[in-house]
Every structure is written in structure tokens, then in C-alpha cells.
């Protein structure tokens, strides 16, 4: 197989713990990032529509224009579709720009689809996430057609706004403390 994300770290963030492997029948959702077309052209267009000295300045694209520009090739769409069909994955939806495909499938099917993946449930208080601690691979035929598969390794990033005075046990802004 082929590993699209060999450099993706898997680490269980603080607070999360492994609650065991999913049963093969449990449903999960995977997001396939399909290979886009005309990315270099898109980059040039962004420069043009954003630069006041360009004739195209301010001529932003509609969602349909973006779709026409970057939507994956028929070959990409067809290859991915056939591959999913072969594994009995039918419940899929594409976004308007056609470059993301989101599929619902049983964990057992997902593990056959993505050799190497092994889906576990992780819990953090009331939060729950399903992730694979081991890297996944894809069929060689998809190397030119899929960028990555979402929903395997990256945990939801936690935002933390801090109240510094409380965090440090001081009830005073730090600048004042520093000058003291």
C-alpha cells in the first residue's frame, strides 16, 4: 500500500484515554481529500484578485467558479468511486467543490479500506473521539487521486484561554507584578 501521511504524528493528548477498539459494525465517518486540479493557477488567481495593481483586483470567484477550477478530474472521481464501490461503501457525500468526499461506513469496512488502521474510541470526560493509533495505507491506485484521509489521527485541538491572574495564583495583572 501507499501511506499518504507517513509523517503524521499520533499522540493521545493529555486528558484522553483509550476506551477500547470499536466493534466492526460501529459506524464511523471518514473524509477523503481528493486531489484537486489547477492549484498553481488558483495561487496565481489569489494574487491577482488580491493585488490592487492587477486588472483582476477584487474580481473574486464564486463557489461555482472555484468548483470549476479545482474540482478533481473525472479520472480521480471515477477511480475513488470504483474503489469505494468495491468495498461496499455507498453512503458518501461530496462538497460543492467536489474535492472532499465524506463517507459513513462500518469500522470493519474502514479497516479493510485503509490497511493498517485500527479504530479505537478515546474519551475525555464527556467528549468522545474515534481515532486510529496506527498509520493507515491506501491502495497504490489512489496515489495520484487522494491527498489524505481525515478522521484517523488528529484529535480535536483544544483551545484554552487563560485567566493569567487565576492561573498563576496571583490576583493581579502580570505587568504590575513585574514592576513590583
Amino acid at each position: 500500500g501507499w501511506a499518504p501521511e507517513p509523517d503524521q504524528l499520533f499522540r493521545t493528548p493529555a486528558g484522553w484515554s483509550d476506551a477500547g477498539r470499536l466493534a466492526p459494525s460501529e459506524t464511523l465517518s471518514l473524509t477523503f481529500a481528493l486531489r484537486q486540479r489547477n492549484v498553481q493557477r488558483l495561487a496565481r488567481l489569489v494574487q491577482q484578485v488580491s493585488s490592487p495593481d492587477s486588472a483582476k483586483y477584487g474580481q473574486f470567484l464564486s463557489l461555482a467558479d472555484v468548483q470549476a477550477l479545482v474540482a478533481p478530474s473525472p479520472l480521480t472521481l471515477g477511480t475513488v468511486q470504483k474503489w469505494l464501490d468495491r468495498h461496499g461503501v455507498w453512503d458518501c457525500r461530496a462538497v460543492s467543490t467536489m474535492d472532499f468526499l465524506q463517507c459513513q461506513l462500518p469500522a470493519g469496512t474502514a479497516e479493510r479500506l485503509l490497511p493498517g488502521a485500527q479504530f479505537h474510541r478515546y474519551r475525555n470526560g464527556t467528549l468522545s473521539s474515534v481515532r486510529s493509533p496506527s498509520p493507515y495505507t491506501l491502495s497504490e491506485e489512489l496515489q495520484e487521486h487522494v491527498d489524505f484521509v481525515g478522521g484517523l489521527h488528529r484529535f480535536p485541538a483544544e483551545r484554552k484561554v487563560v485567566s493569567r491572574a487565576w492561573a498563576s495564583g496571583r490576583m493581579w495583572p502580570r505587568r504590575a507584578t513585574r514592576s513590583t
Partner: protein, 369 residues
């Protein structure tokens, strides 16, 4: 004199008059929440009741995309909504709430999918989310970067917090320390917002860089040409730089600009909470200002600002974003070489506060010109 940052303090500091509020009905702005962080309309109403006197404003969010939970409000979500609607006052505000419908979904990826699926979106988005660049695969980083290109091509302005760990720190496999850039802050297709604090914490005084303000250089994305001159100048005139082995001086440099990030008042679960800090606070403030500029542009029949960097930031002078933040350094590795100090603020662009903090009338003039 003040007892912490409130909308009045921010509006005074960045020279917003009571008339600097949204007036065009098609103006819009948004913030994104992940991981079941919810806001409450009642908190927003109370916040505006306590702190929103003196300028026309709205007291409710117009649209929530996704699921708003019924549990306790999150401090982060309250902060975003309350300050986005304080600088971007009287502008229609949306909240994207993408906790992930399925346990296997990635909430941030879900938000990107929404952008790719909705033809009508707010023009300005404030997102306080970030991850270590080195913890993400190259394939993911590059693809998400293209998603930001798609948004920029549509004229959307997406602002990300620069992070709260200064330059960051990582130990390499050889046991050496290097700085640790944050993503999406390091994407060249978003506007990244750093943080400052008042030199005198109880006066609307000059700003110094906030030691937590995230900033530095990407190890993945090359420096866009519009940054080259400013970064070269910084690296040549900065009096004290960390050793060059700690950072990639040819990478996308961030942040782009900054705003106050220390000592905010937030109302959450009906309780006013003081001393809230982080670039999560400065980002909605700047996003609201961009939304106000957008409002003025739309009212004049002009297109929205879109991605400000290439168009505006390269031409911005100290007259536009002023007064310059020239004092203070941010955090980095605690080792004998850098002793916890990353980069320091300087005149013109620097990797702690970018081009500095906004002077709204000048910024508006530059972006309308």
C-alpha cells in the same frame, strides 16, 4: 484609568468613534468554535448591557451554523462573540459550531468542508485554533493551505490567532532545541494576529508586545515575496536575534499584525470574568475591525478586502498601523542559549507583533484607497 480591557478601552485605543459601526446590511462576520465550546445569547446581552454603552451594537448572533449545545457556555466562545461584536459593532454575526457530528470527524476539517459547501458566507472569519506545525503531516498542511487559497479567491478574510506560546520550542531528534511554529497561523493565505498588552496595565497607554504572542517562521511554507523586504530588514537591524539554527528565516513569517491580548473582561454563564488573556482575544478584535472596513467598502460599491496581506500589508507603513509596538520579547526555549527569549518587537515588522497594532482611521483610509 481602567480595570481591564472592555469594548470601550479597545475602541478608544484603536481610535474608533461611536460612529464607526456597521451600516451596510450585507456586511457580515463570523467566528468558529470547535470541541463543543458554546456561547449563550444571554451572556452576550449581559456583556453588551455592562460594557456596550456608547456605541450602537447588536445583542444577538444572527445565525448559528451547526449545533449549539445546551450546556454551560465556554469562556473561549463567549470571548470570541463578545469582542467580535464589539469592534465589528452592528454587523451581522454568525457562529460556526463544528464539534464533529461523528466521533471520527475532525472538527477543524468539518469547518473547512462547510466553507467549501456554502455559497453565501460571511466575508470575515475569526478563528482561534492552532496546532504545532510539526505535529501535522505535510499532505494535510499543504491541502489545508489550498483550502485557504480557495477562501481567499472568494474574497473571504480569514484571521487566525498566532498562538500563546511565543516562538514555541521543540527538541529535535539530535537533542537540539528549535522554535516551534503553529499552523494555520503559518499559512501564507490567512491573516495572523499576535498579541500586545498595555505598558501600564490600568491606563489606555502605549502597548508592548505580549510575551505569549505566537510568532516566527514556518518550516513548511516559503516566505511570500510581499514579506521579503520587511523580514530582511528585521533580521538585519534587530539588536538581538536568537541563533539562526532555531528558526527557518526563509519561511512564511508571522504574525501579520497584533492587538491587545491581555486582561480582558468576558461574561460567561452570566458571570463577568476578568483577566482573560491570549491571542484568542486579539483575533476577534482585529476581525471586527476588518469587518468594519469591509462594511465601508461594500457601502461604496467596492469589493471586500479579501486576503489583506499581498494587497495591503506590503504597503502599510507605520502611519497606518500605529503607534508601533517596539518593546518586549516573546517566550521560547528555556535553555542556556536563548534563556527563554524568542524574538523581540522592533520598529516596522517583527515576529512578535507583525506590523503593529491598528490605528483604525488610518487603516480604513489605506484599505479604502
Amino acid at each position: 484609568f481602567h480595570l481591564g480591557v472592555t469594548p470601550a478601552v479597545i475602541r478608544q485605543r484603536y481610535n474608533l468613534t461611536d460612529g464607526d459601526v456597521g451600516t451596510f446590511q450585507n456586511s457580515s462576520q463570523a467566528c468558529a468554535q470547535f470541541l463543543e465550546q458554546y456561547f449563550h445569547q444571554a451572556d452576550l446581552s449581559e456583556f453588551m448591557h455592562l460594557f456596550g454603552g456608547g456605541f450602537p451594537h447588536r445583542c444577538s448572533v444572527d445565525r448559528v451554523v451547526g449545533r449549539q449545545g445546551q450546556g454551560k457556555a465556554g469562556l473561549e466562545a463567549s470571548l470570541d462573540v463578545e469582542y467580535l461584536m464589539s469592534t465589528g459593532a452592528n454587523i451581522s454575526t454568525w457562529v460556526f459550531s463544528t464539534a464533529g457530528r461523528h466521533e471520527s470527524q475532525e472538527p477543524f476539517l468539518q469547518w473547512l468542508l462547510l466553507l467549501s459547501n456554502m455559497s453565501a458566507l460571511p466575508w470575515v472569519h475569526s478563528v482561534s485554533y492552532g496546532d504545532d506545525e510539526d505535529s501535522l503531516s505535510r499532505a494535510y498542511l499543504e491541502r489545508v493551505n489550498v483550502e485557504f487559497m480557495k477562501a481567499a479567491a472568494r474574497g473571504l478574510s480569514i484571521l487566525f490567532a498566532s498562538g500563546d506560546l511565543g516562538a514555541g520550542c521543540r527538541t529535535t531528534s539530535e537533542g537540539k532545541h528549535v522554535f516551534r511554529p503553529s499552523f494555520p497561523a503559518s499559512s501564507p493565505y490567512v491573516t495572523t494576529v499576535g498579541g500586545t498588552s498595555f505598558r501600564d496595565p490600568f491606563l489606555v497607554s502605549a502597548e508592548v508586545s505580549d510575551y505569549i504572542s505566537g510568532g516566527g517562521f514556518s518550516n513548511v511554507f516559503p516566505m511570500p515575496s510581499y514579506q521579503a523586504a520587511a523580514v530582511k530588514r528585521y533580521l538585519s537591524v534587530a539588536p538581538r536575534l536568537p541563533p539562526s539554527t532555531y528558526y527557518n528565516s526563509t519561511g512564511r513569517a508571522y504574525p501579520d499584525l497584533a492587538a491587545l491580548s491581555d486582561n480582558y473582561w468576558v461574561v460567561t454563564n452570566r458571570i463577568p470574568v476578568p483577566w482573560v488573556s491570549g491571542t484568542s482575544a486579539s483575533t476577534p478584535v482585529v476581525a471586527g475591525l476588518i469587518a468594519l472596513i469591509n462594511d465601508q467598502r461594500l457601502r461604496r460599491g467596492r469589493p471586500p478586502p479579501g486576503l489583506p496581506q499581498p494587497r495591503t500589508l506590503q504597503g502599510i507603513t507605520s502611519r497606518t498601523l500605529s503607534p508601533q509596538v517596539t518593546q518586549g520579547c516573546h517566550l521560547s526555549c528555556l535553555d542556556a542559549t536563548v534563556e527563554g527569549q524568542g524574538f523581540c518587537a522592533a520598529p516596522s515588522w517583527d515576529p512578535v507583533t507583525g506590523w503593529g497594532t491598528p490605528n483604525f482611521p488610518e487603516l480604513l483610509r489605506a484599505m479604502l484607497g
